[in-house]
Amino acid sequence: MQRAKYLLAGLVLALGAGCAGMPGAQADPLNREDPHVAQLFNILRQARGQGDQLIMAQLDAKLRDVGRAHAIEYEIDQAASEQMILQTAHKAWVAAQKEPEILNSLDAFNKAIGAW
C-alpha cells in the first residue's frame, strides 16, 4: 500500500512537471539570434490573429517546417529538431494565453522560451 502511494505521488509529480512546462530532455533552448526563433514568434502572432479560425493541424505543419529548416541549418537530426520546435512553440502558445505580452516583442518571447 505504501509503495503504491509513492508510485502515485511520483506519477502526480511527473504529470505536474509536464503540465508546468518543464523542458524535456530533448528540449534544448534555442539561441536568441537563431532566425527560427523570430519565425516562431511571427507564426504564433499570426496564430493569435486568426482567433477562432486557427487550425492547429496547420499550425503544427508550419512548426514542423520550421523544425526541418532548423535541422538543415544546424545540421542536426530532423525529427528531434521538429519535436523541439513543436514543444517550444506549444509551451509558448500556452504561456501566451496567460501572458499575451509574450507575443508583443521578440525580447519578451525570447525570455519566455528561455532562449539564450
Binding site: 536568441r32 539570434e33 532566425p35 527560427h36 526563433v37 523570430a38 519565425q39 514568434f41 511571427n42 507564426i43 502572432r45 499570426q46 493569435r48 490573429g49 529548416a69 538543415i72 541549418e73 545540421e75 507575443l103 508583443n104 516583442s105 521578440l106 525580447d107 518571447f109
Partner: protein
C-alpha cells in the same frame, strides 16, 4: 541596432556576395565553406533595385500586424530570390530558408521597433547598422 538582425544581415550579405558561386555547389549556402569578405562590397544586398521590393513586402506585412499572411509573404520572398541573387536560376533550399529567416527576423524586430519600416533608409539602417 539589434544584434540579431545585424548578424542576420551580415550573413545575408555574405550569402549574396557568393550567391553565384554558392549555387554551383551542392551545399553552398548558408553553411558552405566559401570564404567571403563581409566587410567588402555588399553586392545585391545594398542594391536598391534588389532590396526595395524586399523592404516593401516586409513593410506591408508589418503594417498588417498579426493579420499578416506569412505564407503569402514567404511565397513572394521565394519568388524574388532567383532574379535577385542567382541570375534568374533557382536558389538552393538552404539559401531560401536562410533568406526567409532574415525576413522573419526583420518582421519580428519590427513589432517592437516599428520605425524601422518608416522608410527604405530606416529599414536598411536597421538591417546593416551604422556604416
Amino acid at each position: 541596432m539589434k544584434q540579431p538582425i545585424k548578424l542576420a544581415a551580415i550573413a545575408l550579405i555574405a550569402l549574396t556576395a557568393v550567391a553565384g558561386a554558392a549555387q554551383a555547389q551542392q551545399h553552398g549556402a548558408p553553411q558552405g565553406d566559401t570564404t567571403v569578405n563581409v566587410q567588402g562590397p555588399q553586392g545585391p544586398f545594398a542594391d536598391q533595385k534588389v532590396m526595395m521590393p524586399f523592404y516593401e513586402l516586409l513593410r506591408d506585412a508589418h503594417n498588417q500586424g498579426d493579420k499578416a499572411d506569412l505564407d503569402a509573404v514567404e511565397t513572394k520572398v521565394k519568388a524574388m530570390l532567383p532574379a535577385a541573387f542567382n541570375g534568374g536560376q533557382p536558389v538552393s533550399k538552404a539559401m531560401e530558408d536562410h533568406v526567409l529567416g532574415v525576413a522573419h527576423q526583420a518582421l519580428a524586430l519590427g513589432v517592437s521597433n516599428p520605425k524601422m519600416f518608416d522608410s527604405y533608409e530606416a529599414f536598411m539602417a536597421a538591417m546593416l547598422g551604422p556604416q
